[in-house]
Amino acid sequence: MSAHEETQHAYDDHHHDHDDLGIHATFGGYMTGFVLAVVLTIIPFWVVIGHVFDKSSTAAVVILGLAAVQIVVHMIYFLHMNTKSEGGWNMLALVFTIVLVVITLSGSIWIMYHLNNNMMPLMDPSNLP
């Protein structure tokens, strides 16, 4: 196996000028990512199906937290994200997108929640003039 990899590396170096796609995936990397992803998938399903937490809000926080961790795991082990690929432009685009996503999500939910709260009294007929 290792001998094969060495010959493979020699081959890669030889063709470095036109065959290099900048990504060197490894079996260990994929398997680490896969095992972590499976664990991080099973835990939230278990939390919901097994009614582990009495309060829904606690369960929701746990689910969202595990989802965030799992997304990071997918980014690192499956999408091969790091700060050096493409001279850092990959990471810059990702950070910019995360900023926009956070603004979109939190902004929408925050504003609409307050809008709902402020509109609610009108729904009650006794509050109507």
């Binding site: 896969f34 969202l64 999408l79």
Partner: protein
């Protein structure tokens, strides 16, 4: 860059003419992958908007069925495992591609495609079941945003499978040439990106949707 500075040095020989252009292109070899990554990020924003819409409308049932009534966790667990498995099988295909072994790579691609097709079949059956019960997207704001978000993801998976088939034809015809390897890496990013979005879908829509 170094060519230019040496030719600009005052102490240079008289035969060395001044050059104001670079003799070589210094573009990164894999600009396509960066471009594709930027596309994925823009796709990410589409999903962010749909997630925000679901976050706002997800509890507006309009007297219709609620989340726990229509969302079936066993189905979602099966779908999640299919998509996660298809992610790792695509990873194996990439590993075989790096070793220039075309046949095992194609085998892993076929398995990936089948897992993706299985995911899609289960999702479409879930949709058909909901619509048949009168719980289509027109029933309530909750179901509208649910169908839009999950349906858009399903549409992406459909495109991914079509792309996978086209790519397998290309590899079968031309072999593992550099262009095909680049395409395989682009589809790899697309496929893993869909799995990332699905993590958001099953957590935010399904698991949080069935919480009391």
């Amino acid at each position: 860059m170094s060519d230019m500075t040496t030719s600009m040095t005052p102490g240079g020989g008289p035969t060395e003419a001044l050059r104001f252009h670079e003799s070589r292109d210094y573009h990164p070899a894999n600009g396509t992958l960066l471009g594709f990554w930027v596309y994925l990020m823009s796709d990410c924003l589409i999903f962010a908007c749909l997630f925000a819409a679901y976050g706002v409308l997800g509890r507006e049932y309009a007297g219709g069925p609620t989340g726990p009534e229509v969302l079936e966790l066993p189905t979602v667990a099966l779908n999640t495992s299919l998509l996660l498995l298809s992610s790792i099988t695509y990873g194996f295909a990439v590993l075989e591609m790096q070793r220039d072994r075309q046949k095992p790579m194609m085998l892993w691609l076929v398995i990936t495609g089948l897992l993706g097709a299985g995911f899609l079949t289960i999702e479409l059956r879930e949709f058909a079941h909901l619509i048949a019960e009168g719980n289509g997207p027109q029933r309530s704001a909750f179901l509208s945003s649910f169908f839009t978000l999950v349906g858009t993801h399903g549409l992406h998976v459909t495109c991914g499978i079509l792309w996978l088939i086209v790519l397998m034809v290309q590899v079968a015809k031309k072999g593992l040439i550099t262009a095909n390897k680049r395409r395989l890496m682009c589809l790899s990013m697309f496929w893993h990106f869909l799995d990332v979005v699905w993590v958001g879908v099953f957590s935010f829509v399904y698991l949080m949707g069935v919480l009391p």
